[in-house]
Structures are given as structure tokens and as C-alpha cells.
């Protein structure tokens, strides 16, 4: 009996409504938080920050955002890349127009701007459903990228059309620009991720989350029992846009430092984030983390094994990587179509019963 539930009684609905109703889970959650804030910053180095931790944190925010839209509200979106670009460019314009305001607020505001744009592109979802909507969101993807590439106002008329994050500080410590320390950027992103996750969790466990899920599971029935589909869908687009915008802003300002929109925020990015939530688990906040971690680590591991360990020529490794990534995705979907989160749930269910099944 690894996993105990019996004996963990709840006496009020407040207790039962908690994020982690089971004590064991709750403790684990505090431990993870403590390590993330209290231990990792002291161990971190440049390589781990850049190769794994920063992208993991930032993609997790994006994945949470997309998961709200797709996993909870059932609206498949392939426009994530474009929306992240909105966050990035909004952040850039704000950073350069109001250099005296703290970057923290720029990032939040970038999320706000993205929420608005995302909502606007969500309008067709009132009529268009399923894959038609998915493909329609590509319109946002391509149009936004084109726009940022075309209109020089967005990149402050720089000759190359790229945007570069100027140096900005939080409590006197640089978090953007070329002279940042790994621990500072890490903590900066971690704060955003923690807040995002808490907000997302609160929204999805309450009535708002239920409305979204109702729309996802059966939109007509949802409307007939009283969900206003327009408000439900658009609010999902807005909230999702908010998170995706934040992640786009962080991706540009903290992680990359400079961005060429077509490549960084192209359609590949949309697919990547979608993959994260599917492999992690649709409709699960934990799944967003798991999926992001998995897909950020995968190439690092593959490269370690292929090039550094087996010593294969890089081109064969590069091609094999495609084969392996492709195969892994398929194997994964076959083994557990509902993602790592579901795998985790089933494991827990088994552990609960262990060692006496049935």
C-alpha cells in the first residue's frame, strides 16, 4: 500500500474541493515547490538553464494556456505560434516604449494584449467546429507571422526585421539581455509559471472550468442547459491567450533574446505545444507540465545518446531523430492516448489497490 487514501477523511466541502484532496499528494506538491524555489537556483548552470529548465518553464506556461483552450474547452488551435508571437512583439514594443516600467508588468501586459488578439481570432469558433476550426486557426498563425514580418513598426524599423530584447532588471538583477545569470532568468520564469498554474487550476476546478468542459464534451447540450457558448468559448480563448502571450513574451525576452518571427513562432511551434498537451494529457494541468518536460528533454536525450554516446555521424543521427521522435509519438499514443497524466492516474489507481487488485 504505497498510496493511501483510506483514513484520509474529509469533513467539509472546502477540504474536498482542494487541488490535492489526498494528503500524500499535497505534501509532494509542497516538496516540489520547495525544491524548485529553494534548491535548484543554487545548483543551476548555464547549460541546464538553457537546454532544459528555461524552455521547460516557458513551454509549460504555453501548454497550460493551450490546454485550457483545447483540453478543457475542446477548441483545437494551431495558432499557438502566432499567439506567442503576439506576446513577444507586445512585450518588445512595451519594453522599448516604456523603458522605465518593470519588465514584470510588461510581460503581464503582453499577456493581456495576446488575450485580446486571441479572443478576436476566437470569434469564428462560434460557428466553426472541430478540425475546420483547427485549420481555421492556422489563418491566425500565418497572418500574424506575416504581419510582424511586414509592418516595420512592430520591429521598430530595424533593418533585419528582427527584434532584440534590451537589458532589463528586476530588483537590480538583469533578467533579459546578454548578461543574465542562469538562476535569475530561471526564477523569473518560475514565478510566472507558478502563478499561471495556480490561476489555471483555480479556473478549471470551478464553474468556469465546468462550462468549458461542458462545451468541449457536448456543446449543444451545454447550451441547452444554460451555458452561453459565446462567452464560454471566448473566455477560453482569452484566458488561453493570456498564458500563451506570457510564454511568448518570456520566450523572446528571457530565453532567446532576439527573435525572427517566421522561424521562432512558425507553425512548428504550434504543433510542438499541441504535442505537449496531447502527450501530457488533455484537460490536465499536470499533463501540461509533463508534456513540456517530455518534449523538451527528448531531443536533448536523443542527442546525448546518438552523438555523444553512440558516436554516430550527425546526419544519420539527425535523420534517426526524426524517425525516433515520430515513432515515439505513435507508440505513446497507442500505449496511452490520454497522455502521461492518464498514465499517472492509472498507476495511482493500481497503487491504491495494490497489492490486492479487485
Amino acid at each position: 500500500m504505497f498510496y493511501r487514501e483510506a483514513g484520509d477523511f474529509k469533513t467539509s466541502y472546502t477540504d474536498d474541493n482542494q487541488t490535492f484532496p489526498i494528503k500524500f499528494d499535497r505534501y509532494r506538491y509542497y516538496v516540489v515547490l520547495a525544491i524548485a524555489f529553494g534548491v535548484i537556483p543554487f545548483l543551476i548552470n548555464d547549460y541546464w538553464a538553457n537546454a532544459f529548465l528555461l524552455p521547460f518553464l516557458i513551454y509549460s506556461i504555453a501548454a497550460i494556456g493551450l490546454n485550457i483552450l483545447t483540453g478543457y474547452c475542446g477548441q483545437v488551435s494551431l495558432g499557438t505560434g502566432g499567439f506567442m508571437a503576439v506576446g513577444a512583439y507586445a512585450c518588445y514594443k512595451l519594453m522599448t516604449s516604456f523603458p522605465d516600467v518593470n519588465i514584470f508588468f510588461h510581460v503581464i501586459a503582453a499577456g493581456g494584449v495576446t488575450a485580446i488578439v486571441c479572443t478576436a481570432f476566437g470569434l469564428p469558433s462560434l460557428r466553426i467546429k472541430g478540425f475546420y476550426l483547427a485549420v481555421a486557426t492556422l489563418a491566425a498563425q500565418f497572418f500574424l507571422v506575416w504581419l510582424f514580418n511586414k509592418v516595420s513598426w512592430f520591429y521598430n524599423y530595424s533593418a533585419s526585421g528582427q527584434i532584440n530584447a534590451p537589458e532589463r532588471f528586476v530588483f537590480g538583477v538583469p533578467v533579459t539581455g546578454a548578461n543574465t545569470d542562469a538562476w535569475a532568468t530561471y526564477l523569473f520564469c518560475l514565478v510566472f509559471l507558478t502563478i499561471s498554474a495556480i490561476i489555471a487550476r483555480n479556473l478549471t476546478r470551478g464553474m468556469q472550468g465546468r462550462k468549458w468542459m461542458a462545451i468541449r464534451d457536448m456543446d449543444i447540450a451545454a447550451e441547452i442547459i444554460g451555458v452561453n457558448p459565446m462567452r464560454a468559448k471566448l473566455s477560453a480563448f482569452a484566458v488561453s491567450g493570456f498564458f500563451i502571450g506570457i510564454s511568448g513574451a518570456l520566450f523572446f525576452a528571457v530565453y532567446l533574446g532576439a527573435v525572427e518571427v517566421g522561424e521562432v513562432f512558425g507553425i512548428q511551434k504550434s504543433f510542438l505545444v499541441l504535442f505537449m498537451i496531447i502527450i501530457g494529457g488533455l484537460g490536465s494541468i499536470f499533463g501540461s507540465f509533463a508534456g513540456a518536460a517530455f518534449l523538451v528533454l527528448l531531443p536533448v536525450v536523443l542527442k546525448l545518446i546518438g552523438v555523444d554516446f553512440l558516436g554516430w555521424p550527425t546526419d544519420i543521427v539527425a535523420h534517426f531523430n526524426l524517425v525516433i521522435v515520430g515513432a515515439l509519438i505513435i507508440v505513446f499514443l497507442i500505449a496511452e492516448p490520454h497522455g502521461i497524466a492518464q498514465l499517472w492516474r492509472v498507476a495511482k489507481e493500481k497503487l491504491r489497490l495494490w497489492p490486492f487488485p479487485h
Binding site: 478540425f131 475546420y132 500565418f142 506575416w146 555521424p313 521522435v325 515520430g326 509519438i329
Partner: protein
Amino acid sequence: MLEQLYFAMEVFLNGLMAGVLYALVALGFVLIFKASGIFNYAQGVMALFSALTLVGIMDGQVPFSHIINATFGTDIHHFGWHVPALFAIFGTVIVMVLFAWIVQRYIFRHLVGQEPIILFMATIGLAYFLEGVGDLMWGSEIKKLDVGLPQGINDTIDQVTYEMFGYGFFIDNLDIVATVVAVLLVIGLVIFAQYSKEGRAMRAVADDHQAALSVGVSLNFIWIMVWSVAGFVALVAGIMWGTKSGVQFSLSLIALKALPVLMLGGFTSIPGAIVGGLIIGVGEKLFEFFMSSSALAGELFGFTISATENWFAYVLALIFLVFRPQGLFGEKIIERV
């Protein structure tokens, strides 16, 4: 002024032709979607893969030669023969049927009954996989594909129109061939899907896997069949596009051009693919033409709008969809409680 009109007409005609080429890719999507509700993102990579295979067979390339050489220290590249195009096409079709079988046996059989988005993701996985295999098998350098299709400006049209209007229209020979092929394909496929027993079974499977199983339709058979046909359509698209730009990775990106076509025509409609293709082709070419050539646009926005082709098709399709959520010819979305 008249001049402008002729230009516009030329652009229009070329748009039609470009649309046909998009439609060729879209057709493969439609088939698979119709038969299984699978939104096959790998269709573009299938076009690439089939074209690579075709060239490989024609040139007598040794598959996986690079790995073989790397592991065994050999130095083999070619069998040293040249296969005539027709036989090579035949060989490629066999490969695509084999591919269909593998896809069915090892992937989709295990995913029966899953949600569409899961299936969609699986096809993206498949796309990666196939791209890697294609690279490993045939190498990623550019290959020239020549199955003897004519290419370049059609002189007859040029001359005839020159005599008629004083302006010779540009139509590419390859586009004319593509149009003929596409029309034949569409007619064939429509007859198949609408009137044959297998076609009916295919539509049944798309509606409800379980029920289809319960009446004795073999999902395996139907899906292998459909993926084979889609593989064939991919080959046709691969030949057309490969002849144009050489066979290489970017061929797989034409999938992105086919998506708006699908949206517009309806995911389930074979004729829709063609009509959608034509509308998109014409729409994007004309839009680009007016925007980049008119001074008006420049005055309006302070900059000229150009390179719109990546998004225009999507936006156009989106606008259509708002009025017809299932595309122009797509199956009605049945909404009942």
C-alpha cells in the same frame, strides 16, 4: 487599361492551374478523412516519400546506402540501372501499398475508436517518421525528377492568344497535364466513393467504426485500401510538384497549401477539393496581383502588401467557413440532441 485586364486574366488562369496542383494534394486528405475521420497531416510527406521512391527506383539508387556504407564500410550507391518511368511508377505504387499496410497494421489498428485529435497527432508522428525514413533511405539532397512530362510555356496558347488579343497568355504545360490528371482522378474517385460497395463501406466506417465493424466491414481492408489510394494520389501530386521544383524536403510542405483548400471544399468532398483548389488558387493569385500592383494599396496602408500567399488562402477559407461551417461541399454537420 486593357493591358491590365489581360494581366488579370492571365493571373486568373494561372491561379486556376495552381489551384489544381493544390487540389491534387487535398484529394489525398479527403480520401483518408472520408474513410476514417483521420485528418492525415502526413499527406505532404507521403507525396515527398513517393516521389523520392520514384526517383530512387528510376535511377537505380540503393536504398539506405548511406547507412550501409557507414556501418559496413562499403561504397555502394547505385545498382547501375535505369528503370523506365512507367515501370518505376508501378514499383512506387507497390511501395505505397506496402506503406498503407504497415500504417494500418502497426498504427491505426491500435487506435481504433480514439478521438480525432489523437489520430491527427498520430499522423504528425507518422509524418516525422516517414520524413526520417525517406532521408535515410534516399538521402536528402535534391533530386531531379523527369518522367517525361512537358514543362514551360505552352506556345500554342501563347501564339493563339497573341493573335487574338495582342497579348500572349502564359500557361505552363505541366499545369495543363496536371489539370487533366486531376479531373480524371476526381471523376474516378467520385464514382468509387458514391456508387461502389467499397465506397459505401468506406463512408460507413467514417461515420461509426464500431457499427461498421458490427456489420462485417473489415476496417483493416477498408483502411489499407484507402491509404493505398491516398498513397497513389500522393504519388501523382509528388510527380507534379517534384517535376516543378526537384524532389526534396520542401515538397512535404505543400500539405500546408492543401489545408485551406480542404477547409473551403469540405473535408469530405472529393469534388470539393477541386473546387476549393480553384477558388483558393485564383483568389490568392489575384489578391497578390492587385495588392502588389495597385498603387492604391500602397496609399492605403503606407506600404505595399506582398507575399500574402502564405496566409491569404487561410483567411479566405475562414471567411467562407463562417457562412458554411462544413465547407462548400462538406457533409452537413448533423446537430441533434
